[in-house]
């Protein structure tokens, strides 16, 4: 079973979002996603200041197997990317919800996050995928 923390919200593209105290959201890929991708060897993160709409391809994770886009789960402006992933893309594998975060975003509309799946809904979604 993959890890699905209660503190995050989730998308069908297997991304997680966490609302921070300053109103920004931190975004990464889920434990399920990193397991399916395999060992990561390269992560391309967005530049701070870049603006993305919902569903825009905004980052790329490349594993030993294949490349995969990260789609922006809520519209907003990037405030920060995880610089540690430049030299250690494997952090996404070893710590998908903490050290392996990918970027932070200031959302246009904070309420948009509430429309995503919570941990319970994402767990159900994963269970359906396995059927």
């Amino acid at each position: 079973m993959s890890e699905v923390p209660d503190s995050c919200m989730y998308t069908k593209d297997h991304e997680w979002l966490r609302l921070e105290d300053d109103g920004s959201v931190t975004i990464g890929v889920t434990d399920h996603a990193q397991e399916a991708l395999g060992e990561l060897v390269f992560v391309e993160t967005p530049e701070a200041g870049a603006a993305f709409g919902v569903g825009d391809a905004c980052a790329v994770v490349e594993s030993v197997k294949a490349a995969s886009d990260i789609y922006c789960p809520v519209a907003g402006e990037v405030t920060e990317a995880n610089a540690a992933l430049v030299d250690k893309p494997e952090l996404v594998n070893s710590s998908p919800y903490d050290d392996g975060w990918v970027f932070r975003l200031r959302p246009e509309n904070a309420k948009a996050i509430d429309e995503l799946m919570d941990a319970e809904a994402y767990n159900r979604f994963l269970a359906e995928l396995e059927d």
Partner: protein
């Protein structure tokens, strides 16, 4: 649920935590947790691969040598004594590659040929068809299991564990030499760019050897590591880097075509001679990405002499950058660009191998 054919080691793969994938109709281990760790184990120590899915064909009969000299672009006439082996392509009349293989000369008039798993059916059909006028018997040895133990420490780790005390004799083998005792066959070959052995055994002895190797600390390795190791070693993968539409001459395998003696009429010779007389339009080269990112199979290569195509791309764990094999126009210069996800990224054109016996070559 997995539905493919399984080798004699399948339960052991599962027990070792393998992630199983389909490969040419076989359920094979992709990795046992970390493909990167497995890769490094082979470059720095020793790793064991289950390659029992590969097809082993024994050739017997008075015409074995004559038939193989007709069938293969390399010349088994060069195998000056029993035990010696060589790498060759098996061509169609148009000079396209039906498969690549290793052939070993055995005692008496026999040979042992090891071909790819995915091409088994077409290979056997082609062999049977071409053998019609020769006194040869072609016998597939699906009863044998096969392990490849590779890495700088591989031979010393395996030698004491070989059945029948064959270790001492096996340690005397030179590159591409084999020993052959009843149902134990050991060859100093492999497809990783490292020293090591490929070992054929009957299943019970093979499982015993596997268990002993794991107990001795040899890393089990899956197809993922096998692919990055062979790519770093500049070794072609059949179906990607060459196939029936490409000749050895445009696949960086010209060295495996034995032109002398000129009257050896191997299948595909005429077509290759015609190609050789004209200027070759393309060649298979190595690429080293000079930017961050990963080159993937099928991507477009932009050169000063026109476009080419990546035939095998990936991440090199040893060089810690992306490398590839690519078929490019013959006149392409030293620098090119690879179109990675709509971006043109600079790459250097090099001569494979990228890594040889653990050392960077490019």
């Amino acid at each position: 649920m997995q539905m493919g054919k399984q080798t004699d080691f399948f339960e052991r793969h599962l027990a070792a935590g393998a992630r199983i994938v389909d490969f040419g109709g076989w359920d094979m281990p992709l990795h046992y947790g970390s493909q990167l760790d497995e890769h490094h184990a082979v470059r720095n120590g020793a790793g064991v691969f289950d390659v029992s899915h590969m097809t082993v064909v024994d050739v017997a009969g008075a015409d074995s040598r004559n038939w193989l000299r007709r069938l293969l672009a390399n010349d088994v006439g060069r195998l000056s004594s029993p035990g010696k082996g060589l790498y060759s392509c098996m061509l169609n009349p148009a000079g396209g590659v039906i498969d690549d293989l290793i052939v070993y000369r055995r005692r008496g008039s026999g040979y042992r040929v090891i071909v790819n798993a995915a091409t088994r059916d077409t290979d056997l059909e082609w062999m049977q068809a071409t053998a019609a006028d020769f006194d040869v018997a072609i016998n597939e040895r699906s009863d044998l299991a096969m392990l490849a133990v590779q890495g700088p420490a591989a031979r010393e780790k395996v030698a004491p564990l070989l059945p029948e005390g064959l270790g001492k004799e096996a340690l005397q083998l030179g590159t591409f030499e084999s020993l052959d005792h009843d149902d134990v066959f050991v060859a100093r070959t492999g497809y990783t760019g490292e020293d090591g052995w490929e070992i054929l055994l009957e299943p019970a002895a093979a499982r015993k050897l596997w268990d002993a190797l794991i107990a001795a600390g040899v890393q089990p390795c899956g197809l993922g590591a096998r692919d990055t190791l062979r790519l770093e070693a500049g070794l072609n993968l059949y179906g990607q880097d060459m196939d029936t539409q490409t000749s050895p001459l445009v696949s960086n395998l010209g060295w495996t075509v034995c032109w002398e003696p000129g009257d050896r009429d191997f299948i595909g010779r005429k077509a290759l001679e015609e190609q050789r007389e004209k200027e070759l339009s393309h060649r298979l080269v190595g690429l080293v990405l000079e930017d961050r990112g990963v080159i993937r199979t099928g991507q477009r290569v932009v050169t000063d002499a026109g476009d080419g195509r990546v035939t095998s791309g990936g991440f090199s764990p040893t060089l810690e950058c992306s490398i590839a094999l690519a078929r490019v126009p013959a006149d392409a210069g030293e620098h090119c660009e690879v179109e990675i996800r709509s971006n043109l990224k600079p790459a250097r054109v090099v001569r494979p191998p990228f890594v040889k016996q653990g050392q960077r070559q490019v």
